[in-house]
Symmetry: C2
Subunit: 225 residues, 2 copies
DNA sequence: TCAAGTAAATGAACGTTATTCATTTACTAC
DNA sequence: GTAGTAAATGAATAACGTTCATTTACTTGA
């Protein structure tokens, strides 16, 4: 006599009649856990519990926790704003993309060490973003050999900056070592913050504007031979 | 009848006659472990074994493993080359410092998430480096409010770039998705590498030169009001 | 149609890891 | 000298990622 699965019912061993897991479901559940409690809360046990499944069941769909993180990574890439590429001038499009990219990864810094060394083969959405960028650079007249280095340089700056945002605002307070380091102590106090921005935002703005201008100069230098 | 401690002798419980541990010894042993086998090999147990001590003994000197990493972090900062500041022009000094900084952290990427949010109070060597930088920027005539944002921007770029170096050289190979992403695939193939350099080096060079030039432009814009 | 193979779940187990605690012994200060 | 603290051992713990045997359902080929 079959019993319909009640909400608290226990699933017996053996392959279930209808699928209860998939990569998509795992990705969504992982993302939900992360948003609720950060990366500390993302454990294979917690993930299994959220999906109402035994931890070992996850390993029929992913090879490791690292694998889960790769799925999450490729998913959140979709939320980066690339809409300005193609419709707006190069510098403005890069600016919008970069701020959006940084904001997304500010909430996902533990993914940075992963994405930075992850072959794009395993991350179709990431590849898609690169394609969009490359097309826009070409459209803008960039010499092809400079495009990938330029993207990587921008990305590196973005990743590094994402870490900054999470830093405590008093990170540069010298404390008792202030007297031994007077110039830096003073510079910290006089730091330009910009309109209503945090120190991290000010540094990102300065660096991004510098990088955008500097890359354009490098491009001009290349074209000049 | 007291027995001199032979090399393989077992230390009895209780406070030892002469100190066997200190923060300095722990730092040195941790660094040695990391250099020998990377951060995976740095466990509290391995550290204790290297120091011929029980794991719990470490906790009389550090509060946590995180604490050990902070000690290591502040130690390796000393190996960054700041010698050009004060003796060479601003841009050349920044260039040398940045390459050196990146090279050091290439071998210590797991420290990046830590240093990026670590209050400088707990890292005197790091503070010292910032003081050296600030003095050089002032010497060069930089407006004080821009100095900290500029340093943070450079550092962010350096940290992000350090991750890149560890990436496999075929990280951007599109594989079976090549046809769907033709522009990027082509750009990867035509990528400018520079004289005998890796892709990571080329991107770092391009970005660093862009950033150096761009920051100088930002500085000029600020001074002009 | 049946048999073999594979997919996908459970549940028990394992080896690490960082960390804590009780205990012991030596040093230090009043 | 006695109380308190510093610094070691060794046993214990909880959490985590992962593996394995087992069970059951679906799929495929003769």
């Amino acid at each position: 006599m079959a019993v319909e699965a009640a909400s608290g019912a226990h699933r017996p061993a053996g392959r279930p009649t209808q699928k209860v897991l998939s990569k998509e479901l795992i990705t969504a559940a992982a993302l939900k856990l992360i948003e609720a409690g950060g990366y500390d809360r993302l454990t294979m046990s917690a993930l299994a519990k959220a999906l109402q499944v035994a931890p070992s069941a996850l390993y029929n769909h992913v090879a490791s926790k690292q694998d889960v993180l790769v799925l999450v990574q490729d998913d959140i890439i979709k939320s980066i704003d690339v809409s300005a590429f193609g419709s707006r001038p190069w510098d403005e499009a890069v600016r919008r993309w970069a701020w959006s990219y940084r904001d997304v990864f500010t909430r996902h810094t533990p993914l940075i060490p992963i994405i930075a060394v992850l072959p794009v083969t395993g991350a179709p959405q990431t590849l898609r973003m690169y394609e969009t960028l490359t097309s826009a650079f070409l459209q803008d007249g960039w010499p092809e050999p400079l495009i990938v280095p330029a993207i990587v340089a921008l990305e590196s700056f973005i990743f590094g900056s994402a870490f900054d945002v999470g830093a405590p605002s008093d990170i540069f307070e010298s404390g008792e070592l202030a007297e031994a380091n007077p110039n830096f102590t003073s510079a910290v106090r006089s730091q330009e913050l910009g309109a209503g921005g945090s120190a991290a935002d000010a540094a990102f703005r300065l660096g991004l504007e510098g990088l955008i201008g500097g890359l354009q100069a490098q491009r001009a230098a290349w074209s000049a031979g």
